[in-house]
């Protein structure tokens, strides 16, 4: 994005065409963004302002619903326990992913094992296996081992869900470390651990951070495993949100406030990491 792209084509286009295309771009992007904006706005309303068939665009914003999401209101639970589960599960699973993926990525890039290509495709192929292909035994096993509804179950499963992505991403970052630097460190007598700590890690740390963010995003948003394997003690924020679906319908301002809080961490992380997002989503295939 950094490159200025006022290209020849742009310069040749008539000012009116350019203006119209710019306007079109803004309109389309705003249509796509609208549901997110509407969610945030509705969360700032009072319930009477939100539950109307003619939407109130002008209203006095209030954080009252955010407060009631925090405390719980009207028979609805508060967010804090679910938030705690989500944070714990996401952070732990991401840590496990990095601990397992970094050595693996090293063995697939800087000092590649024979048949490294097959190993890489084994990792990506586990991502292509639909989750429904393994959810049933996972449920039966968890039931037998009495870990249904435990947080550690989701920690392990989310780590497995993100490990292939992390291996691919980290490998693509490790390949960018100039081999001369590693050789130099080796010649100077640095062992593997020291090479890793003082040479490789500082260079790939932006990549490492991006990888962690991608894993965080996927684990934070995950729903299918959570809804099938947890109910209360291991339940994450998506499960908390689904609790709002009741026969008489939810309170819209309350729901929107809760949904906004749920989305905020990932929105911020994603906006911050947007340059690396495409690399993560395509397993490091696209830089």
């Amino acid at each position: 994005m950094s490159r200025s792209s006022r290209t020849l084509a742009d310069r040749q286009a008539k000012p009116l065409t350019r203006l119209l295309l710019g306007l079109l771009t803004w309109i389309i992007v705003l249509i796509f963004f609208f549901p997110v904006l509407w969610m945030a706005l509705t969360g700032l309303k009072t319930e009477p302002d939100a539950d109307t068939s003619t939407p109130h665009f002008i209203f006095k914003p209030t954080f009252a619903e955010y407060a009631s999401v925090w405390k719980g209101a009207g028979g609805l639970n508060g967010l804090p326990p679910y938030l705690e589960h989500s944070v714990l599960i996401t952070v732990l699973s991401t840590l496990i992913v990095l601990i397992l993926a970094l050595p693996a990525a090293y063995a697939l890039s800087i000092r590649p094992v024979p048949k490294w290509r097959d190993v890489l495709f084994f990792f990506i192929s586990t991502k292509m296996l639909p989750v429904v292909g393994s959810i049933i035994p996972l449920y039966v096993i968890a039931r037998t081992l009495h870990v249904l509804d435990h947080q550690r179950l989701l920690v392990v499963l989310y780590a497995a869900m993100n490990l292939p992505i992390a291996v691919w991403m980290l490998r693509s970052f490790l390949l960018e470390v100039p081999s001369a630097i590693i050789e130099a460190a080796r010649v100077d007598g640095a062992g593997l651990i020291r090479q890793m700590r003082s040479v490789i890690l500082p260079i790939i740390s932006p990549g490492l951070a991006a990888t962690a963010l991608i894993c965080f995003i996927f684990a934070w948003n995950e729903f299918f495993l959570a809804v099938n394997l947890t109910t209360v003690n291991g339940a994450t924020i998506p499960i908390y949100l689904v609790g709002f679906v009741q026969p008489e319908g939810p309170f819209l301002a309350h729901l929107s406030a809760a949904a906004t809080v749920a989305c905020l961490p990932v929105l911020l992380a994603g906006w911050a990491a947007q340059d690396k997002l495409v690399s993560g989503l395509s397993f490091g295939a696209v830089k």
Binding site: A9, W26, T42, L100, F224, L281
Partner: protein, 325 residues
């Protein structure tokens, strides 16, 4: 599997990244470096992945040949039996769910790729506030799908309180029951909305890998915008589109969150896709055997589709004479 991967241009994208190919080849061939010690760092990750993903799938396969229902734990399991497979192939809901899966995967993939290319082309020009717009457009993909589905269902699509009907009222469409009567369109629209940002990012990456000099040269030579798009931009974008179609299909085939929340597979079975039907069979009817048989069919179909889709897309483009990249 490997050769197919290798001759697809997807792999060209993957392989074009590393600048240290020769170095790597030299290192891999160096004798006496203790090849099996090198494998040690891989072991934990490989074992972990095998235990958590491959092993359960083997169990799924095993369960699929048993009459196994958690509601009747003492019943004989009749292993091995083809009962489950006979059941699901005679089950009209399974067939409906399979067809729905095709529709609810293909339509969002096609729509989001089309929108993605369009928006990327618009954003690749000089537009006021381009960085800001790019930040906004990726948001639907980042938003928690559960939260997005709830917001769509209750504040946007709702017949009375939904803002969509409010916007449509001037056009005489103000009281449409979107979720009840246009459930498939609703789900397709939701999935398209979720996945378009991903396609925009991929297409933008493709457009920005395009050499400006080449474009300017073509323009100086008198090529029109459409000609440049067809002969230069499209071939350049091709591997990125392939990648988008492939990854999009793999993920959207598994769509669950939106269906669970917005339509619950209904009305009737109109939006029941295979993941949702498997969920109902396994976690509401507790019929582990039958659900496992369906899961096996889904996995086989996914593998077939992933390989076939890649080939069809490749040949589609090359038959139009766009292979010269």
């Amino acid at each position: 599997m490997r050769t197919r991967w290798e001759d697809s241009s997807l792999v060209n994208v993957i392989e074009s990244a590393p600048p240290v190919r020769q170095v790597r080849a030299k290192r891999a061939g160096r004798p006496g470096a203790g090849p099996w010690i090198r494998r040690v760092p891989l072991v934990p990750a490989l074992v972990f992945m095998f235990v958590v993903t491959q092993f359960p799938f083997l169990l799924t396969l095993w369960y699929s040949f048993q009459r196994y229902n958690l509601n009747f734990p003492t019943n004989p399991r009749d292993f091995p039996t083809l009962w489950n497979y006979r059941q699901i192939f005679g089950d009209h809901i399974f067939r409906t769910a399979a067809l729905n899966t095709v529709l609810l995967t293909a339509a969002p993939v096609i729509c989001s790729v089309a929108f993605g290319i369009g928006i990327a082309l618009l954003l690749n020009r000089y537009v006021f506030g381009r960085g800001f717009l790019r930040t906004l457009i990726i948001s639907p993909f980042l938003v928690m799908p559960t939260a997005a589905a709830l917001v769509w269902k209750f504040t946007i699509l709702d017949t009375t309180f939904g803002i969509l009907n409010f916007f449509l009222r001037p056009f005489g469409l103000g009281s449409e029951n979107w979720i009840g009567q246009h459930s498939q369109i609703t789900i397709i629209a939701f999935l398209t909305w979720q996945w378009t940002p991903f396609m925009v990012l991929l297409a933008l990456a493709g457009l920005q890998s395009q050499g400006q000099d080449q474009l300017e040269a073509a323009r100086v030579d008198g090529a029109g915008s459409w000609r440049i798009f067809r002969s230069l931009t499209m071939p350049q974008l091709r591997p990125y589109i392939e990648l988008g179609v492939l990854l999009g299909s793999i993920y959207i085939v598994q769509a669950f969150d939106g269906i669970y929340i917005i339509t619950a597979g209904g009305p009737s079975t109109d939006t029941t896709n295979l993941p949702y039907y498997i969920y109902e069979t396994a976690f509401q009817a507790y019929d582990i055997g039958r659900a496992s048989a369906m899961a096996v069919v889904v996995v086989i179909a996914t593998i077939l589709i992933a390989t076939v889709a890649l080939r069809v897309v490749s040949s589609l483009f090359s038959s139009e004479g766009m292979e010269g990249r």
